[in-house]
Symmetry: C2
Subunit: 234 residues, 2 copies
DNA sequence: CGTCTCATTGACACCCTTCAAACGAAGTGG
DNA sequence: CCACTTCGTTTGAAGGGTGTCAATGAGACG
């Protein structure tokens, strides 16, 4: 949405730097990035809340791994309807693309830091190192698996089931056994689950009325009855 | 895209053979499999209409490539709701899994032939041959791309837009410029698009009434006004 | 011709969306 | 410290798009 590029840093890596807000404190900012689990060096970057990390149609020169914070990837239709493909938590990789360009956009849900890993470097490495290639494939397959589950949710589940699935998924990924601190807004949840913000809100309070969850605040969810949630989520 | 079928075929592995109907005519039924574009030998198999190729939960020992016919992969909920993940045409690869087991089921939409390629062989090959690994990754990324587009359709498009998108997609993949011979039933289309069979049927006739398509028979669709379709599909 | 399967059409209900307003929390300035 | 604004969330009322249930129609096959 609003990518403020620092004039100082932009000179170094013009196309790759987001806002430098959080990165300012980071020590080794002028050298190479940290070596990713994939075995390739990357460039560390920071983004403010709602800042765009990359946009649909831009050349996909890098894949990204979340270090801190939460990221969303999404596609939008001409009239503004948005479908969030997924939320990415620390450790997760996003921005995997089949073609040369990004076919989804990515934004920071919260202030966050990510490593951008050049595809060219990655390809080079993967070509010679079978284990690295396998890791990359495993990541992609995992994404595919999640996508297919998401499709089932979007195509065949009702609002209540969708939300139950979402909350359970978040509680597994956060991970905090039965107290989930949602990093995203109701609008994000709605666009992730193929619903409207009103339906998400209504369904949340319904689950609370049924004593399945509890909402101390709108970002905090206590999973009171996980069995019921699992039952709903199928 | 289209894999050419070698006349030489398939070792006899009882556990892996579907119906032998179509295979019966094949001559070299006891030899090695044909070399797949991925560079690994596979076992050729044939399946009759609606026959299961693999089921959710079964060990995923192989990935599959369609040689002839059409395949669907899907997931089902406990109460029978089904979401078809995709249809696979000749040349397409399906059965890519992140874990050890299949998390989707696969069935023959029409009588079909597929090659089953052992994951162990593939992994072995990919470990030493960087180009093979890259091909496999590209296939998986392509699947991911389609999944994410499908998610947008399921989460954010109405019945008319979904059907328009589906028909255009089929017309590209078949490929017959503006006469599409649908290989699948209305129920399959419904379960692919997250609709009911009745809604699919009604929407089809609505598109016909609007002179956007024409339905000589229920399996044959003439795309009269592709511009209108593209407009609907976004 | 009868049967079976699949597709189409109709009537009605309901879940979710839309539109609108009220509410609450957080931040700002007086 | 308290108005005031702003943003996000919740709640309400009404309407519409799809689903559900049921009946009819159309091919395929024996």
């Amino acid at each position: 949405m609003h990518a403020e590029v620092s004039p100082v840093v932009a000179a170094v890596w013009p196309a790759e730097i987001g806002s430098i807000r959080s990165i300012a404190g980071a020590p080794g900012f002028a050298g190479m990035g940290s070596a990713d689990p994939l075995g390739v060096d990357g460039v560390r970057m920071a983004y403010g809340r709602n800042e765009e990390i990359f946009g649909e149609g831009e050349p996909a020169a890098s894949i990204h791994r979340v270090l801190k914070g939460v990221v969303r990837t999404y596609r939008i239709l001409a009239d503004g309807r948005r479908q969030i493909a997924d939320f990415f938590l620390p450790g997760d990789v996003f921005g995997l693309e089949a073609g040369l360009d990004h076919c989804t956009s990515a934004e920071a849900v919260t202030d966050c830091e990510v490593v951008a890993i050049r595809r060219s470097h990655l390809a080079e490495r993967a070509m010679s190192d079978g284990a690295a290639a396998q890791k990359l494939l495993a990541l992609t397959l995992h994404r595919l698996h999640r996508s297919e589950e998401h499709m089932l949710v979007l195509g065949r589940k009702n609002a209540c089931e969708r939300l139950a699935w979402f909350l359970l998924d978040m509680s597994v990924r956060i991970p905090a056994p039965d107290r989930v601190e949602l990093p995203m807004s109701r609008q994000d949840i709605a666009d992730f689950l193929g619903l409207t913000i009103e339906t998400v809100s209504r369904t949340m309070t319904q689950l609370q009325d049924d004593e399945i969850i509890e909402l101390p605040s709108c970002r905090q969810v206590l999973l009171r009855d996980k069995t019921a949630l699992l039952d709903l989520a199928n």
